[in-house]
Point group: C2
Chain length 351, copies 2
DNA sequence: ATAATCAACTGAACCGGTTTAGTAGTGATT
DNA sequence: AATCACTACTAAACCGGTTCAGTTGATTAT
């Protein structure tokens, strides 16, 4: 078996308690004794048992993250891996680990949170993909599980939030398109059930209003590639079809751009396209995608830090506001087609 | 505080021991008593404390996974999220959770494994991205940490492996290209430090040999998009430049295809391209990418199952062999350019 | 009738830490 | 010299389970 605190105590000729004090930097031992104990512990290669520590201090030394996604979609999102890496960089500095849960079916989600809470597997969770009137807020409150949310929920939430405002990124995209002469700028939104789906649509509407343009070219999709195709088709079928589309994520922008091209439209000649996330592959599309770059790594760091602060009581009480995302202009956006060109542009795709 | 086993014992009028026996389905209690205890436990809403359980049974009820990647690369790989989802589907059936660790720097990797092992945070780990002469095998043996490896290491390993042979997929790609009339089929490999980088190259060599072709158009890259560009450029600079390139993953194929197009080559007219992984976005490239589809979800399931079997001693001793990946033919591959066309094809890119 | 066996159950030890209460020893205070 | 305060330390309780060693009472064997 591994070396325990009793072994150290015996070898150092002191009691268990003294060893505990010495190792945790608490008062109650003289410097000389502390030195000796540390020395002995090191020699014996003592490593504290997380389990024992957890039992007596009623902590799990772990944070939880539940990803509730269709497994098909999981691999398509560049956000999570980098986000998780960000969480880890923070946790690595403290003595915490990350427990990851994947809920592939909606009903599995609640079960996942209960599983994390029940046995005391984690000390808190990071809530992502917050939804409109998110039922998980109540669930976590019921489970008495500390949490931080990514973006502030629209329902009343007692948990600190770590937010990255979509507005600036979307505004920048719309302004960029307006500057290129676009008037009919559409938006393919993600599911409006998600607050980031909503906030991006609202940001688009606000930016359009600010530019004095009407925001009626909206199609709701679900952040998936097929959804992007369907929503794009819907917008392109309209008589007042857009000359530019702002997508709520890269995957939809990618599939939307692909669809438009397959319908004979030139991107950006006939249709300008912007994405959101700056997935790496978007640089290698034809044309490379103009998109909005967030920093999931930083987001992960901040979320983990906020949760740790909350756990040890040093939480400021204020939400964390992250740096706004930035627009990366690439070749999928260009000048609005001239009026003449617009009239003679390829026929709208068949229904 | 939460309700403990003592509360249940008291409420049921029995000893702690009896409650434990009853709840774990062990002999030592009559059916009547067992019923009563279960009933009381249910009424009180008792949930076993994972920590206490872990301490007395010396188990962590968790498996570990260390992803050692540059954080920039993490988001680009569709493999991990689906793989993790697969692990989870298996773990959800048992009472285990997944502890995820991200090692962004090489030297952080060993630390990550030690961290998981030291406090007894996990009962075993799943080893991914196995390398040539992988030092982690020795490390895990030293740490006395059970493990399964994804693919069989080339060094001697005491751990069961869950393998998915690259050969069939790569062979299928090469055969497909040969059938299209290609003679000069190159390979852009992933880092040969990884055994899956090696095995894909070996599979390409074997398939070329089988077709009576020489396998000399090889360029090593590192599974990244920029690496794919560089390796593609290298191959295209050669006087005997390939008319088709088999890439070791989708990301390199994507950036390679993009680069070739940027050099004025037509894909697949001048150059056919195949990927590996079937990342979703590859369907929406222009042209859509011919690629090799693996099943990371299944792989995750199998790996978790193998590790759990090993932990409870029911491991068969044999490696798990997964179904071979399949070739998905899309538009990035086409007939080899005619000899004349080949001579008059766009000039090779400048150095 | 008595011993042996067995099922059903209890009490306590145990896992490896933390923490509280208490003890010894030292030095300062009056 | 007695009191007090304080430091350095120890012993033991505690966290919430599991498990071992008994104990009891009923059943079976002789």
């Amino acid at each position: 078996m591994a070396v325990t605190i009793s072994d150290v105590a015996q070898a150092a000729g002191v009691s268990k308690g003294s060893v505990s004090y010495a190792l945790n930097g608490q008062p109650g031992v003289s410097d000389a004794t502390r030195e000796r104990i540390l020395q002995v512990a090191k020699e014996l290669g003592w490593k504290p048992s997380l389990r024992a520590k957890g039992l007596s201090s009623a902590k799990a030394y772990a944070l939880g993250l539940v990803m509730a996604r269709d497994p098909r979609l999981l691999g398509t999102d560049p956000f999570f891996p980098a986000f998780i890496a960000g969480i880890e960089t923070t946790l690595a500095e403290h003595d915490y680990t990350l427990v990851l849960s994947v809920a592939t079916a909606p009903e599995a989600e609640e079960r996942a949170y209960r599983k994390l809470a029940d046995g005391g597997r984690v000390d808190g969770v990071i809530l992502v993909d917050v939804r409109h009137n998110d039922s998980r807020i109540g669930l976590l409150r019921e489970l008495n599980l500390p949490a931080v949310t990514l973006n502030r929920p629209d329902a009343d939430s007692p948990f600190p939030a770590v937010s990255m405002d979509d507005t600036d990124g979307i505004s920048a995209a719309v302004e960029h398109l307006v500057a290129l002469g676009h008037i009919r700028i559409g938006h393919v939104g993600g599911s409006q059930e998600y607050i980031h789906g909503r906030s991006r649509r609202l940001a688009w509407e606000a930016a359009m209003a600010k530019a004095g343009l009407s925001a009626d070219l909206f199609a709701e999709a679900d952040f998936t590639a097929p959804g992007g195709v369907a929503a794009t088709a819907e917008l392109l079928r309209r008589p007042d079809r857009p000359t530019a589309i702002v997508y709520a994520n890269d995957l939809m922008a990618t599939s939307g751009q692909f669809y438009a091209q397959s319908q004979g439209l030139n991107v950006p000649g006939d249709l300008s396209v912007t994405g959101y996330d700056n997935a790496e592959f978007t640089q290698y599309l034809n044309p490379p995608l103009t998109t909005i770059a967030t920093d999931p790594l930083l987001w992960g760091r901040a979320a983990a830090q906020a949760l740790l602060n909350q756990l040890n009581g040093t939480h400021s009480g204020e939400d964390t506001q992250l740096q706004a995302p930035v627009l990366l202009v690439r070749a999928s956006t260009g000048p609005a087609p001239a009026q003449a060109a617009s009239r003679s542009s390829p026929r709208p795709p068949a229904g």
